[in-house]
């Protein structure tokens, strides 16, 4: 196969993997801290993307034309908004159910995801239709044979890496990160040591949801389109990625995200009937992996969670 073509496939895979990873990291964070799966994560991503779009439309009609300013505004509005949404969800829907069986929390977040999705579909004007998302990054591209390297893709990839590195730094080098890791490891002891449990949980949800908003905007910029169902698909893949990587481990989430993207790309290239079967292939491998290593590739060690 042509090297350029291969490089193109690799690039496609990297972009997808980055987006899946951002979602998977969120799942892993929530699990690490509260031992729950917040299934509405994908739909928070959708709401974030739509919030950004609304901000863009609002500012454009108010006359603002500068592209960097618009992009900045979208980030500044969507990310804190989703962080706030995440905190609300944690406070009113997840924490009250801490003593209930895990299935209840899973179900309530699944239903919440449905509520978010349907709300976007019903209450955003013409929400049922896919919406064009503006292309706000420079579109210069270099053509290396079959491989077309675009500046905006490279920028987004770099931004994603920055976000994940930033998260790792936050968790490992700051006091807040220490508190989060303590709560993830052992809630009671952490409280005894003076860590404000509720505050830590709320902040963790805020961080995870902020990442979701970030991923949503990235998704919109990459495909130049958003629709109300995008969160469901990404959410399930993010969940699968977090699980095969091993819930509770950030490295696992990263591994899982890129692994899933790699599976999809390999499925596209290797299977004769093009990309139609790529999802079937990827999910089959996921099920097989779970059967082989039930708690994920990076084993859930009791001593280290996040």
């Amino acid at each position: 196969m042509d090297v350029g073509l291969l490089a193109q496939y690799v690039m496609n895979g990297l972009m997808l993997g980055m987006m899946y990873t951002l979602v998977a990291v969120g799942f892993t964070l929530f699990f690490g801290v509260l031992d729950i799966i917040k299934f509405s994560h994908g739909d928070v991503l959708t709401v974030g993307a739509f919030t950004a779009l609304a901000t863009y439309i609002g500012l454009r009609s108010a006359g603002v034309g500068s592209t960097p300013l618009l992009l900045l505004a979208m980030l500044v509005v969507a990310i804190p908004a989703m962080a706030a949404l995440g905190m609300l969800i944690a406070r009113y829907l997840v924490m009250p159910l801490r003593s209930a069986p895990a299935l209840n929390t899973l179900l309530i977040t699944l239903m919440l995801g449905t509520v978010l999705r349907e709300s976007v579909r019903l209450f955003y004007p013409q929400g049922a239709n896919p919406k064009a998302f503006p292309a706000l990054l420079p579109t210069a591209s270099i053509n290396l044979g079959q491989f077309n390297l675009r500046l905006d893709n490279a920028l987004m990839l770099a931004a994603g890496v920055l976000a994940i590195v930033g998260l790792q730094l936050l968790l490992n080098r700051t006091k807040l990160g220490l508190a989060i890791r303590a709560v993830a490891q052992d809630e009671e002891t952490a409280r005894t040591m003076g860590v404000n449990f509720t505050a830590v949980v709320l902040i963790t949800f805020a961080i995870g949801s902020a990442l979701a908003a970030y991923a949503g905007i990235m998704n919109g910029l990459y495909y130049n389109e958003i629709n109300f169902g995008m969160g469901l698909y990404l959410g399930v893949i993010g969940f699968a990625a977090a699980i095969i990587g091993g819930l509770g481990s950030i490295y696992g989430a990263i591994l899982g995200g890129f692994l899933f993207a790699a599976l999809q790309t390999i499925g596209t290239v290797a299977l004769p009937f093009a990309s139609a079967y790529k999802d079937v292939f990827a999910f089959t491998v996921v099920i097989a992996l779970i059967a082989w290593r039930p708690t994920g590739l990076i084993q859930e060690k009791i001593s280290e969670r996040v």
């Binding site: 179900l107 309530i108 699968a240 139609a276 999910f283 039930p294």
Partner: protein, 387 residues
């Protein structure tokens, strides 16, 4: 001793009255066309149930049902036949009714898996779909008699379910949930891209016909014209009765006892010598078998199968019905299925918002009444014995 226990049984009357009133209400609700009337009827039902709860009548009824189930079961079947007879020429109402019956069978299957054995199955609609596609393929390409097709549909669902057994057995909680969710997505995508099974366009399913009696033709008794859906109603009713009896017998047998022990505490159960794997497998396969049969019959009723009918969202609806009705309680399932299937169809004004409202109601239930509408009572060993 037996006579004493017999005398201690709750009276039959409250149960019969409740059944009669429910039947009358159901007929009224199904016959009503105007939106204000329907909204009024629904509001009335909510108020009436709440009032009955406070006045202590609901308690009487539930005790009556618990003790006199066999007789009341027969009366319930009669009540269903009365409703069907009332709407004998109304295609749409009968179709709705048949849908409720078949969804109840499927949810009873899920109930065995989750309510009795604690095995999470988020791919209920997928197994339903497997049964439906089986009936589509068999009725289109072969001449297998249709009753046999139903059985084959069930067995196929159980067989494919057994492929998931290894991951399901080895995992617990969230990981087990992921396995079935991944399967649900996998199956839908597979059906969509696979042209042999019709692809996204789906397949037509021939109507059922037994011994030359074609189920898809309207028929007449004397001068009265009957909708052809009555045929399907009869078969579905038989299926539901059979399943209901099976589930009840299972629950009360030593198998049910084993499954309950398994669900409540796996480790303790294994300490008592129960073979965890064996019972989980039994529950999972039996549940899928029932779901598959219901799916096969539903495929013939609708006459059409397509991948979009059997998505993850549909599986979620089934799990919600289980939750709403009260996990482990078959009567609760019947009520919940009625509510979930009939109300959105009737309330046209909220058609657009029905998914949103449904999700909100489930969230409310989970926050405030997680046991469901009719929670499963504690296992009782002797009639008349109250915990």
């Amino acid at each position: 001793m037996w006579e004493v226990m017999q005398k201690l049984r709750a009276p039959l009357l409250p149960g019969v009255v409740a059944l009669a009133l429910s039947t009358a209400y159901l007929i009224a609700l199904l016959a009503a066309e105007k939106q204000p009337l329907i909204i009024g009827l629904l509001a009335f039902a909510v108020v009436a149930v709440l009032a009955a709860h406070y006045l202590g009548w609901l308690d009487l009824v539930s005790r009556s049902f618990a003790d006199r189930e066999d007789v009341l079961g027969v009366y319930a079947i009669l009540a269903a036949c009365v409703v069907a007879a009332f709407f004998h020429d109304n295609h749409f109402v009968l179709l709705l009714f048949v849908t409720v019956l078949l969804y109840t069978v499927a949810t009873l299957g899920l109930n065995i898996q989750f309510g009795y054995a604690g095995v999470l199955n988020f791919a209920g609609a997928s197994f339903f779909g497997i049964g439906a596609y089986a009936s589509a393929v068999l009725s289109t390409y072969t001449a297998v008699p249709h009753l046999l097709v139903l059985l084959i549909g069930g067995m196929l669902a159980a067989l494919i379910g057994s492929l998931l057994l290894l991951p399901v057995l080895r995992t617990r909680g969230h990981y087990a949930a992921l396995v079935t969710i991944a399967f649900a997505l996998l199956l839908k995508t597979f059906l969509e891209v696979n042209d042999v099974l019709g692809g996204p366009q789906g397949m037509q399913v021939k109507g059922m016909s037994i011994l030359g009696w074609s189920f898809n033709d309207n028929f007449e008794i004397g001068k009265i014209e009957m909708s052809f859906y009555l045929n399907y109603f009869a078969v579905s009713m038989l299926l539901l009765t059979g399943t209901f009896v099976l589930v009840r017998r299972l629950e009360r047998s030593w198998i049910g006892l084993n499954l309950d022990a398994l669900r409540l505490d796996e480790i303790a159960a294994s300490c008592f010598g129960l073979d965890i794997a064996r019972w989980k497998i039994t529950a999972f396969l039996l549940g899928n078998f029932l779901i598959g049969i219901a799916g096969a019959l539903f495929g013939m009723v609708g006459g059409f199968v397509a991948p979009n009918n059997y998505t993850f969202a549909d599986s979620l609806i089934m799990v919600s019905i289980l939750l709403l009705g009260g996990i482990g309680n078959p009567w609760g399932l019947v009520v919940a299925t009625f509510i979930v299937v009939v109300v959105p169809e009737k309330l046209q004004t909220i058609q657009e918002y029905r998914i949103l409202l449904f999700a909100l109601i489930v969230i409310m239930m989970l926050l405030f009444r997680p046991e469901g509408l009719l929670p499963r009572p504690v296992r009782r060993y002797f009639p008349g014995w109250r915990a």
